[in-house]
């Protein structure tokens, strides 16, 4: 079966460039909204997943899903710190395990409004566990046992009173900012201080989690199996990567919901527009369709030809939409992570997945919009079509 030359469709689009442009733009706007929201979701989710480590284990109270919900008293924490043989020993012979405190503190943002900033009480072992991934880029590290804190790079840029020399008061205890640190993923969005001093300032004897480096070959899942029903120290153990990914569910879900809800609703409008444009464009070419049919092209070939034209419109719309959101790539933004209720800073990320999703969606919009007009064209009788002026 002979196919209608593709150049026929491409030239037709070019001839009617005004209408083509308007259709492409309306598809592009729809695709841009979807792609923009997906870039936001990808930026957040990939930051958490990429920066989580598999050789680190996070211990929480059974039933807790996040540090904020978790809690363990000093006694349990001490047992876990000292009597977990799966944990690797440091150069000083002590286990590479740290009991940490975690709290979301309400602080004023530099660009106005309040937000919840995660504050973490750490032990010297915390630094040994993070190793070279954690760097002090300005000032110096905190001295254990003192009321000093260091702030993550993302915090220094977003939150007031977080420069070196500034003071942060927790209840009645002032803490001095002495340094700024760069670290993996969401640690960049945290304030760190000595855990004992913080517990004292906050009048709270509890720890929120234990972070530990496992001996090579040991798995967090096995440790979880052993400890989840332990009589003395029941605990839920995950790798750090699993833990961080588990903290993305609510915000990722919300963003994906917003993106797809908007894309589907706007997609309906875009399909209407596409159908309209193709109907008008084919209507104006009724005679040409008649000629095609009269010269022996089968109705199916005509159908396929116009569907190809509609798909091209969709593809162009998809590409323009992607070009529109491309400048967002790398742009820093922040919102609240609803799993931890704390502020998290991340960048929009235009990943290949966003590109593929956006282009496929745009193609689909073009195809659905083109189906009815193409069918109408294929069903024309050559004699009638040729007679039409």
């Amino acid at each position: 079966m002979a196919s209608v030359p593709l150049s026929y469709n491409l030239r037709s689009l070019l001839v009617r460039r005004g209408a083509t442009l308007l259709t492409v733009l309306s598809i592009a706007a729809t695709v841009a909204v979807l792609a923009g929201v997906l870039c936001l979701q990808q930026g957040f989710a990939t930051m958490q997943a990429e920066h989580g480590r598999d050789d680190l284990a996070v211990f929480l109270r059974p039933g807790a899903n996040s540090e904020g919900e978790s809690g363990m008293d000093l006694e349990r924490a001490q047992i876990l710190l000292k009597e977990t043989p799966e944990v690797q020993k440091g150069t000083d012979g002590k286990p590479l395990a740290a009991a940490e405190m975690f709290l979301a503190v309400s602080l004023p943002k530099i660009d106005g409004g309040q937000t919840n900033v995660p504050i973490r009480g750490v032990q010297p072992a915390t630094f040994a566990i993070h190793g070279d991934a954690l760097k002090i880029i300005a000032g110096r590290n905190l001295t254990p046992g003192t009321d000093e804190i260091i702030v993550g790079t993302a915090i220094a840029e977003r939150i007031q009173n977080c420069r070196i020399g500034d003071q942060l008061v927790l209840n009645v205890t002032p803490f001095q900012v002495v340094g700024i640190f760069e670290a993996r993923g969401s640690y960049r969005c945290e304030l760190w201080g000595d855990v004992d001093r913080m517990q004292h300032a906050l009048q709270s004897p509890n720890f929120n989690r234990i972070l530990a480096k496992l001996e090579p070959g040991r798995k967090a899942a096995d440790l979880n199996e052993r400890l989840k029903d332990d009589v003395r120290t029941p605990a839920k153990v995950q790798t750090e990567r699993e833990y961080l990914i588990a903290q993305t569910g609510k915000l990722s879900g919300l963003l994906q919901f917003i993106g797809w809800f908007l894309a589907v609703v706007m997609g309906i409008a875009a399909v209407f527009t596409g159908t309209n444009a193709m109907l008008a464009s084919i209507g104006a070419r009724t005679r040409e369709v008649g000629i095609l049919l009269a010269t022996g092209f089968r109705p199916f070939a005509v159908f396929r030809s116009f569907l190809f034209e509609a798909a091209t419109l969709g593809l162009l719309g998809g590409l323009v939409g992607c070009v529109l959101v491309l400048p967002l790539d790398g742009m820093q933004t922040g919102t609240t992570n609803f799993d931890t209720f704390t502020d998290v800073a991340f960048a929009f990320r235009f990943t290949p997945r966003v590109l593929i999703t956006a282009v496929v969606f745009a193609l689909l919009l073009g195809l659905v919009g083109g189906a009815l007009p193409a069918l109408r064209a294929a069903r024309l009788l050559p004699t009638q079509a040729l007679r039409r002026t």
Partner: protein
């Protein structure tokens, strides 16, 4: 202006008219929903009670205050009532995504502090008597099919029971409330704070004792600023300092937590408008182009350029308004279900007259402008050129 011609033109391409009106309908629907959501975020601030204050830890919303603070706060002059508030963080595991807000409160003082919680079923008296009693919102009751007398099992990550933390707390539904102000959602459960403390004391559950926030109802004529300063001064020397704010200010921090989300939604709304503008413009340009010959004939017959342009403008306006009407009706139709979905973030979500009016006026402007462009072109056409053109 020839009215009959106007309607004939509209009917000449029924599919096209329908699709254009349809895309306007979709856009107006979306703009209404987005606008109502953004307004819903701030409703809790705009409609906050003037005579209520909230006491929270000076450090963080997630630090509990000692139980003993209530007694001291109540003695500050100008305070009529105080009520405990504690976030429970429970979820109903029997249903996927069974997450909603629960707060532990003082049954004795809750109703007098929050008169907008209107009991519509069951009895508040029962709630005060039963230790494990709870009051639930009308929408919550509808969504889960709970009624007065039912037992509700909830698992809390903040207050786990059992060794694996998966054992459920049970609550007895004593009453169902409806909101008497728009800013209050109908998806929340309130239960007795003493029930929570008792379980912690007995070791039946784990978690920290204390109170998340205290709500204060001011006495008539009391000055908020004075009371706020006095309450803060009570605990200025520690061990736990407090921050007392107006209810509006307290609610504002949750809005501010949304960060750029309202801005994001607004810019999406802008994108939607952009898209429909192109859709309607496209249709009207097509209509204008097809009618070049008609325009020539009308001009030759003596119709003025103005009335020919008006014909296209009114046609576009009618199309846009018809679509907008459908869109507005659709938005109003889904108001209830959407309000339930977004109640956690935007408790004040409502498709009210202001939202609808805005949607309709935007559509009218889009219609006017997109009729004007081909209209002007038609008005300027020379009849000889127009008649010569092949349709």
């Amino acid at each position: 202006m020839p009215i009959r011609l106007l309607f004939r033109n509209l009917r000449a391409h029924p599919i096209r008219a329908l699709l254009t009106a349809g895309s306007v309908a979709v856009a107006v629907f979306l703009v209404c929903i987005l606008d109502a959501t953004v307004r819903g975020f701030t409703a809790a601030v705009d409609l906050a009670a003037q005579n209520r204050l909230v006491v929270m830890s000076n450090v963080s919303l997630f630090v509990n205050l000692p139980l003993a603070y209530q007694q001291k706060i109540s003695q500050v002059p100008g305070i009529a009532q105080t009520c405990k508030f504690q976030w429970f963080g429970g979820s109903f595991k029997q249903k996927k995504g069974g997450f909603f807000a629960q707060f532990a409160v003082d049954p004795e003082n809750f109703q007098t502090t929050y008169p907008e919680v209107g009991i519509v079923d069951g009895s508040y008296e029962d709630f005060r008597r039963r230790r494990d009693g709870c009051v639930i919102g009308k929408d919550l009751a509808a969504q889960y099919g709970w009624k007065v007398g039912d037992t509700v099992p909830l698992v809390s990550a903040l207050y786990p029971r059992g060794r694996d933390g998966e054992e459920a707390w049970t609550f007895n539904v004593c009453a169902v409330y409806e909101a008497r102000v728009r800013s209050l959602d109908q998806m929340t459960m309130y239960f007795d704070h003493a029930y929570l403390m008792e379980a912690l004391d007995l070791g039946a559950a784990q978690g920290q004792k204390g109170v998340g926030t205290y709500s204060i109802k001011l006495a008539d004529g009391a000055r908020a600023e004075t009371v706020m300063a006095e309450v803060d001064a009570l605990f200025a020397g520690g061990p736990q300092r407090v921050k007392t704010t107006t209810e509006a200010e307290f609610n504002r921090q949750f809005v501010s937590m949304m960060g750029n989300v309202p801005l994001l939604l607004r810019s999406i709304g802008g994108g939607v408008l952009f898209a429909i503008f192109f859709a309607v413009l496209n249709t009207m340009m097509m209509a204008g182009r097809e009618r070049t010959r008609d325009v020539g004939i009308m001009k030759a017959l003596g119709f003025s350029g103005g009335s020919i342009a008006a014909l296209l403008v009114v046609e576009a306006l009618l199309l846009a308004l018809a679509g907008a009407g459908i869109g507005a009706l659709l938005a109003k139709g889904v108001e209830g279900p959407v309000a339930r979905v977004v109640s956690m973030w935007a408790p004040g979500f409502a498709i009210d007259d202001r939202v609808l009016l805005q949607g309709l006026s935007i559509a009218a402007v889009v219609g006017l402008v997109s009729g004007m462009l081909p209209g002007l072109r038609a008005a300027r056409l020379l009849p000889v050129h127009a008649l010569r053109q092949e349709a």
